[in-house]
Structure formats: structure tokens, C-alpha cells
């Protein structure tokens, strides 16, 4: 438990993805079975036991500490788990530790007490305190035994068991245990990242682990054995497996000249989440799963859609929200994502919809070896047989030449997308003769996104970045002009932290340091007056109303497109321009 706690602790502070990977791989490599398997299960969210409620933790600490000291501490830290982990009275008896200053004789005042309760203080305090945590206990408690116990434990025994464990752990161990038992580690690691880390134990890549994953169970002894070359590849007996998706390259306008329109079919690129919907029958029972593009099983979040998948096969499509026959833009879908519980209200207000692009399997037949032009009629037939309102076809866009297609891209409403146009993110070009190839092969598929929206905004605040950027001001809050109580003022409309070159970063960083008007912790306010300040050309993909921001709107995917050193802030854009952009987006027009 101690080593797992240390891993979580380190992950929680580490901002960089690659470093998180290194930490996890190092842990998995140097930890034995089955302990590491349970750790992997915890990191991938694959543990299932009844979670403890925060109220229980509060009750446990209340029984053990002075209420005034608890309130002062909780108030100071502002986090219940952390307060409890740190304040929990140490129960261990002090152990003499090696290599420390020659502990002379020594009673041990200050040790073993509750909240510093003192036994018989020895006058020789300096050497008397053993600072070593209870090594013996910590080594005895393993993550394995915690998980196994929690799986079988009755609810009534939980408080007492939890208290015993907390007694035997140190601060970091207690913090990790509380996170584990209350559910949700929240250390900035996705299931996908943990799978990438375990893949690095061998020569496999994350995709291979992902493919096997649905057939594996914790503590994954067979997975580790395969990755370390001690056994063969585990078989994925899952009848409804994830299949690695085929991805597209972005199209430059200049690419078009080299391509023959007759070789391609075109369809809309919908602004939702790319998913794979797989159904199969096993032992006479129906199985259906929804996978994200990276192979994560997200079925539990979309029971409404799962119910509609009753025909064996595998659809590659876009997950959307559809209300009253109309597909909603991404910001509506967002409200359905990352919810812990799926309530009936959520299901009725945000009904999930699958718009089908491709068919990878029809019953037992794998269609991936067929050309797209052959798969498409199979898909049309499959969707028709399924006969579910929640699943429909992504229509093809007719065109004779690239001019036709450019016109469709500029005005999807008129080109067949109709009322769904606000959810169109661009066009997809798919070569008629190409098979379904996993990964991102160059040539067969192209995505031709709509042009980004662009405004000129003024830099208002800057914050230091993380990791390699930790000494640079690299996160920028920018604003546009709006009518305020006393004339024009800048209102923040977004935040961007990429899009610029390394060289530009150095320039902006220098500008921020030299033009700081005020500091708020890690944030600097940068001069922003009509005649003084830095104008940033900001590109973004979408715009929506938002009650969370003072400006009343929020940008999607904003980035710094260009630095306008030449432009005085007074000439930056006004809020009214953004508001008219929203109106146009809602009418489905490119701006």
C-alpha cells in the first residue's frame, strides 16, 4: 500500500504526460504480482467494491480528535480527505531507526500520543523523537489485501476496518487509502494512460493492450506474463471487441490539386465524439458496448444508446445529442459527458444519438477488408434493418468537382445538412477503393475542417505553465472591448496556452515580465489599455453562450494564431462581433 500511495502522490503532482508514464511503468516493473495488477485496476477504474461516503470519514475523525483542532485544521487545508489523512492520530509505537543520529537512551515523548498528547516527557527531547513511521505495519498492509477485503466486507464492518487500516498507515498512505475507498483517485491519469504505461513493460503498444483489455480481469497476471515475455498473448474472448479505428489526415487546400474527385466519396464530419458501437450475442444473451475512439468502454454512460444496439455488428460513428429531430452542437453534448451518474433527467434532456459512418462487422462477418464503396451499401442496409430512431446514417455529400465541395463546406445548410448544420465540423473525403485500415494512413481519408473563427483580442493576464514551461508565462487570458459602466473596457473572453512557437513564447514571456501591472499569486496582470498592450490574433473552433463567464460566451479550442505587435489594443475586436458570430453559427453559416 505504501508504494502505491507514493505512486499516487507523485502522479498527483506531476503535470507532464510522459513523466506520469515513466512513474507508472517504473512502479509496475518493480512491483510484484498481484499487487501491481490491483494498482493497474485502480488506475484504470476497474475496481468494483462499495465505496465509503465522506460522512463516514468525517465521523471516524470526529471520534478521534478534538473538534476545535479539527475545525481549525480543516479550515486551514480546505480538503476533508487531506485533513483526515494528516490529522489521524498515529497509533504506531516508535521504532528505533538505523543510520539516524545515534539515539542515546531515550524515552519517546511526542510519539504515540493523540494530537501530541504527552506521556512522560523525557528531558532529552532532541534525540528522543523517533521520526520513523511504523515501518512494520506499513509493509504488512498491501493494496491486494485492501482490495480483497473491501470486495467481501459487509457495510457494517467498514468503519472499523477502515479505522484499523488508517491506524497502520502513514500520512501519504492514509491519503491514498481514503481516495481509494471513497472512489475516484483523481491523480490526472486516464485509463488509457495507465494502459500505455503497462504496455511499455514489453514491446506492445497501448492499442494492443486496449484490444485485449475487455477480456482481462484484475489482477491481470496473464497480461504481465505476456508483456514480460514469460507467456503467450492472452486471448480476448470478448465477443464484442473494440477494433482500432481508421483516422484521417487534415487536408490543406493545396492537397486538392493532387487529388481526383472521382476517386472519393464525401460526407459530413459531425462535431460529436467518434465512437464504436458493437453488439454481439453470447450464450443466447445480447451484449452491446460503446467504445471511445481510444477503446475505452463508455457504455455505462449511455444506456439509452446501448438499448438500441440489438443487431450483431460494429458501427463506426459519431455520438451526438439529438432533440426534436435536430442534432445539437458539441456544447450540448458536453453536458452529457463526464457525469458520474446517469439520471433519468439527463437521459430525457440529452438523448444520445449515433450517426453511422461505417460498418466494420455485420454479424460474424468482418467487413474491414472490403473497399469503402462496398462497405457503404452494407452500412445502409444494416442501419435500415436495425430500424432504430437513435441510429441513423451520416448522409453522403454529392459533388462533381472540388468547387462543389468547397461550396458545401462554406454552407452546409444548403448542401444537405439542413437544420443539423450547426453540428457540422467540416467534411470527410474517403477514397472509394480503400479498405478500413487501423491507424492514420496517409492518403485514403482526409478531413477538411471548416475555417477557424478568428478575432483580435488583447492580452490581459498571464500565468506560468507547467513542466518544461514552468518558468514561462505561457497561459494567456485575453479580452475584447465592451461597453462598461464608465466607457469601453476589456472583458475576458478566453484563455489559450498554445498555438505559438517557442520563439514567440520567449517574446511574450519577456513582454509579460516587463509589463506586469499587478500580481495575484501565480497570475500576472499585464498592461491592457487602448494605447498600451499586446494584441493576440486568436483562432477558435466554436463559440457558445455561457453563464460562467462575465462576457456571456465561451470559445471552443482557442489558440494563439499570430502576435499582432503592430496593432494598438484600441483596434482589437469588440464583444458585439463575437455575439454576431454566435448568431451566425446558430444559423449554421460559416463566418
Amino acid at each position: 500500500m505504501n508504494r502505491f500511495a507514493e505512486l499516487l502522490d507523485r502522479l498527483a503532482y506531476e503535470p507532464a504526460r510522459n513523466n506520469k508514464l515513466r512513474l507508472m511503468t517504473d512502479y509496475l516493473r518493480s512491483t510484484a504480482d498481484p499487487e501491481r495488477g490491483w494498482a493497474l485496476a485502480a488506475l484504470t477504474g476497474s475496481l468494483s467494491f462499495q465505496h465509503a461516503k465522506p460522512g463516514l470519514i468525517r465521523q471516524l475523525i470526529a471520534e478521534r480528535t478534538d473538534p476545535v483542532l479539527f475545525e481549525l485544521s480543516y479550515d486551514y487545508l480546505g480538503d476533508l480527505s487531506e485533513t483526515v489523512a494528516l490529522m489521524w492520530p498515529a497509533q504506531h509505537s516508535p521504532l528505533p531507526s538505523e543510520g539516524r543520529s545515534a539515539s542515546r537512551d531515550g524515552g519517546k515523548p511526542g510519539e504515540g500520543g493523540h494530537d501530541g498528547e504527552v506521556g512522560n516527557p523525557s528531558p532529552d527531547l532532541a534525540d528522543a523523537r523517533s521520526t520513523s513511521p511504523s515501518v512494520v505495519d506499513v509493509q504488512e498492509l498491501t493494496l491486494t489485501s485492501v482490495v480483497e477485503t473491501l470486495t467481501t466486507l459487509g457495510k457494517a464492518q467498514l468503519p472499523q476496518q477502515l479505522a484499523r487500516w488508517l491506524d497502520s498507515l502513514d500520512e501519504t498512505g492514509r491519503w491514498a487509502l481514503i481516495k481509494l475507498v471513497t472512489g475516484g483517485l483523481r491523480v490526472g491519469v486516464s485509463a488509457r494512460l495507465a494502459k500505455t504505461a503497462v504496455a511499455a513493460l514489453g514491446t506492445a503498444d497501448a492499442q494492443e493492450v486496449e484490444l485485449l483489455w475487455p477480456g482481462l480481469v484484475p489482477p491481470y497476471v496473464n497480461l504481465f506474463a505476456w508483456l514480460e515475455g514469460r507467456a503467450g498473448r492472452p486471448t480476448n474472448a470478448d465477443p464484442a471487441p473494440f477494433r482500432p479505428p481508421m483516422l484521417a489526415h487534415a487536408l490543406d487546400d493545396s492537397d486538392l490539386a493532387t487529388l481526383d474527385p472521382a476517386d472519393f466519396l464525401a460526407e459530413w464530419k459531425w462535431d460529436g465524439i467518434r465512437v464504436q458501437a458493437v453488439a454481439a450475442a453470447r450464450d443466447g444473451r445480447q451484449i452491446a458496448r460503446l467504445y471511445s475512439r481510444t477503446g475505452e468502454d463508455i457504455s455505462a454512460s449511455f444506456p439509452d444508446l446501448i438499448d438500441a444496439l440489438h443487431l450483431p455488428g460494429a458501427i463506426d460513428g459519431e455520438l451526438l445529442i439529438r432533440r426534436a429531430g435536430r442534432v445539437q452542437p458539441f456544447n450540448v453534448l458536453q453536458q452529457r459527458l463526464n457525469r458520474k451518474t446517469v439520471t433519468p433527467k439527463l437521459l430525457s434532456e440529452f438523448p444520445a444519438h449515433l450517426r453511422a459512418y461505417d460498418l466494420l462487422a455485420d454479424g460474424d462477418q468482418d467487413l474491414r477488408g472490403l473497399a469503402f464503396a462496398e462497405r457503404r451499401p452494407r452500412l445502409e442496409d444494416f442501419v435500415a434493418r436495425l430500424g432504430e430512431e437513435r441510429v441513423d446514417l451520416s448522409p453522403l455529400v454529392a459533388f462533381a468537382n472540388w468547387q462543389d465541395l468547397a461550396a458545401a463546406r462554406a454552407d452546409p445548410t444548403a448542401a444537405g445538412a439542413g437544420a443539423d448544420a450547426p453540428a457540422v465540423e467540416g467534411l470527410m473525403l474517403k477514397r472509394r477503393e480503400t479498405q478500413y485500415l487501423p491507424g492514420r494512413p496517409k492518403g485514403p481519408w482526409w478531413k477538411w475542417k471548416r475555417n477557424p473563427l478568428i478575432i483580435d483580442a488583447v492580452l490581459m493576464y498571464a500565468q506560468r505553465g507547467h513542466g518544461k514551461r514552468s518558468s514561462y508565462y505561457s497561459d494567456y487570458t485575453f479580452g475584447v472591448w465592451a461597453q462598461g459602466d464608465s466607457g469601453d473596457e476589456l472583458v475576458p473572453v478566453g484563455k489559450a496556452y498554445f498555438g505559438f512557437t517557442d520563439e514567440e513564447l520567449v517574446q511574450i514571456d519577456r513582454y509579460v515580465r516587463r509589463n506586469t501591472t499587478e500580481r495575484f499569486g501565480p497570475v500576472r496582470e499585464v498592461v491592457h489599455k487602448p494605447d498600451q498592450g499586446l494584441v493576440l490574433e486568436v483562432a477558435f473552433e466554436g463559440l457558445q453562450h455561457s453563464t460562467r463567464h462575465k462576457s456571456g460566451l465561451a470559445m471552443r479550442f482557442p489558440r494563439i494564431n499570430r502576435l499582432r505587435w503592430d496593432k494598438p489594443p484600441a483596434e482589437a475586436d469588440r464583444l458585439e462581433r463575437l455575439q454576431s458570430m454566435i448568431a451566425q453559427i446558430e444559423r449554421g453559416l460559416a463566418t
Binding site: D26, L69, S132
Partner: protein, 340 residues
């Protein structure tokens, strides 16, 4: 005899009228007794300064030759009579030369402990318990969430990180007086023998520690080292340098910070610290309460920090306690020595 007649609070800090001196005054006074050389306790510009030799030397290093009108060095345990008041200095275990100051008159003993810790530290004399009637204690970490634990475990964390990321430089923020040298000594105790790199602000104080017979192994200045050389090494720097352009000379640095504050996750995150090391030169909650009890004092005066919790705790133990509000203490740590 009431203790307030011996020591009382003035604008400049704790004052002994009868002995005509202040202890760690926060503004210039005629005669100052200084517990230790941290800048919030030891300021320049006093008339006469009485302190341990190390504290005087360190003040000279920081403020220059003319930091005081005159100085007098005092040894631990040496009794000095100042206008009918007897004063003795006792090791406080905080940093090199740090002292608690015992003030006695009319059979009443008050101990002003300055900053202290009651755990082993290879770079300074161990804390000595002095029984007294009134104990003046700091309260920097006086909440039961502060338990500093074993510094050896924190050093192991740093060395483990070095093993996992051998191509990255490890920058450890540490206060330049005391913490930096203790950190180096702890690394040596754990068997780390590679050269340790120093930020310029650390150099003179660290060399002074060495001149006092504290072995710190191979030390090198960061200045002049090239980027490739710094891969997989440990550099000690002031906390404020971690996020400054200075840090750009290091290959993909891991930011560590050695401080009792690193117990608080939000503190570490706000400062962009990826590797917090809980190593403190102040007593933690257990240390404070154990010490307060062990002094046998029945009256406790609580200075800078979380006074409320400690005063409350004293109340539950039947000890008379009150906060002593001295503006300016604790600032050396809070501002991360940004000025150095």
C-alpha cells in the same frame, strides 16, 4: 513577581526593561539578543548585538561588516548578568548557532525559544530542554495536520526520482540558511556521494558551515556548468529561483521543494512543485506540544504562526496560554527569500 515585569511586548518586539535589551527585535534598538540569523529574527542596524558566534558570523555574511554598532559572542550555557537579570543561551536545534534565550530574575525563569525543532539535525547542536516558568514558543506548524515524519524517507523519495528520471536535473528549493545545508548533510548520510550543485545565493553560507567543521562532501557552483553536465544531478537553490528564468539552464528540471509547508498539497501545487519534500527546521505539532509540556512551564506565550490551535491545546492541558502578536516573524519563509 509577575513575568510581565521581566519581559513585555513593545513595538520592537519582546523587551526586558530591567536588563535594557530586546530579544529578536523587529526594528533597530540599543541592545539586541538574537536567537538565530534568519532575517525575520536577526536584523541589521542595532546598537549592540549579543548572540552566539555562529549567529554573529552569519549576520556578518548577510549584512556586511557594519551590521551592528558592537557585537559580543556568547557560548551555550554561559551565564551573563545584565543589570540584575541573568541571561543564558541554549541550543534550539533550528539552524547553526540557533539558541533559546533563558532570562531569569527574582527566581523566575522565562525561556524565549525563537525558532526550534526537537529532532536530530547533523548541521547544528541538538535542542536542549530548559525547564522554566514561562515558555515562549513559536507556532509556525501548530496544527495537528503538521507532522513532519522521517526526513530520511523524503531524501529516499528524491533519490528514487533521480533513478527514474536520470536525464533530468533535480532542482531542490531550500532556504539558503540552514535548510540547504541540512539537506546536503542528509543526502550524504543516505550515501549520496555525487557532487551537489549550488545556486549562487547558497554558496557563502554553505562554505561557512563547512568552515565550522560540518562535512558536506563535493559541492559545485551551478554558475558555469553546462546544460548536459547538469542532467541527473541535484541542485539546491532558493525556492523563488525554481520558477525564474535562472531555471532554464537545466535539462527538463524536476522541481522539488524541501519545507514543512510541503505537507499541504495546495501549497506545493500553487508553486508548481512536482516533488514536495516534507523536511522542516521547525518543530511539528507533536514536537511543539511535547516540548511545551516538557518544559514544566505553567504559562505559555505563543508567537508567530497558528497561535489559536496551540493556545487551545494548552487550555485543554490546564496551561495558561496567550498569543504574543509580533509583526514580522515568519516572513523569511513566506517570501521564499525572494530578495536573495
Amino acid at each position: 513577581m509577575r513575568p510581565e515585569n521581566i519581559l513585555a511586548l513593545t513595538l520592537a518586539g519582546i523587551c526586558c526593561k530591567r536588563g535594557s535589551f530586546h530579544i529578536d527585535p523587529t526594528r533597530p534598538v540599543e541592545r539586541a539578543l538574537i536567537t538565530h540569523a534568519h532575517s525575520d529574527h536577526a536584523r541589521a542596524g542595532h546598537g549592540a548585538v549579543l548572540a552566539t558566534q555562529e549567529t554573529l558570523d552569519l549576520m556578518r555574511l548577510r549584512y556586511g561588516e557594519n551590521f551592528a554598532g558592537s557585537t559580543q559572542a556568547v557560548r551555550y550555557g554561559e551565564a551573563l548578568a545584565l543589570d540584575g537579570v541573568t541571561v543564558t543561551f541554549h541550543p534550539a536545534g533550528h539552524v547553526l548557532g540557533s539558541a533559546q534565550i533563558a532570562v531569569e530574575a527574582d527566581g523566575l525563569r522565562i525561556v524565549a525559544s525563537g525558532d526550534y525543532k526537537n529532532v536530530a539535525d547533523p548541521t547544528c547542536a541538538p535542542f536542549a530542554l530548559v525547564r522554566c516558568d514561562v515558555f515562549i514558543t513559536e507556532a509556525t506548524f501548530a496544527l495537528p495536520v503538521f507532522r513532519h515524519g522521517d526526513p530520511g524517507g523524503e531524501i529516499a523519495k528524491l533519490l528514487h526520482s533521480l533513478a527514474v528520471f536520470p536525464e533530468r536535473a533535480h532542482l531542490v528549493g531550500a532556504y539558503s540558511l540552514g535548510k540547504a545545508q541540512r539537506l546536503i548533510a542528509l543526502l550524504r548520510q543516505s550515501g549520496y556521494t555525487n557532487p551537489i550543485y549550488l545556486h549562487g545565493a547558497m554558496e557563502s553560507i554553505t562554505r561557512y558551515y563547512e568552515s565550522r567543521g560540518i562535512a558536506l562532501g563535493a559541492l559545485r557552483a551551478v554558475r558555469g556548468a553546462d546544460k548536459a553536465e547538469l542532467a541527473g544531478t541535484i541542485t539546491i537553490c532558493p525556492p523563488s529561483a525554481l520558477n525564474e528564468p535562472w531555471a532554464r539552464r537545466f535539462p527538463d528540471p524536476v522541481n522539488a521543494f524541501a519545507s514543512g509547508w510541503m505537507r499541504v498539497r495546495a501549497r506545493a501545487r500553487q508553486q508548481g512543485v512536482a516533488l514536495p519534500l516534507v523536511i522542516s527546521d521547525h518543530a511539528d505539532w507533536d514536537g511543539l506540544t511535547a516540548t511545551v509540556a516538557a518544559t514544566g512551564a505553567n504559562e505559555i506565550w505563543v508567537t508567530h504562526g497558528q497561535e489559536d490551535a496551540l493556545v487551545h491545546w494548552c487550555g485543554t492541558r490546564g496551561l495558561k496560554a496567550c498569543p504574543l502578536d509580533i509583526a514580522g516573524y515568519g516572513e523569511e519563509e513566506d517570501n521564499g527569500e525572494a530578495t536573495e
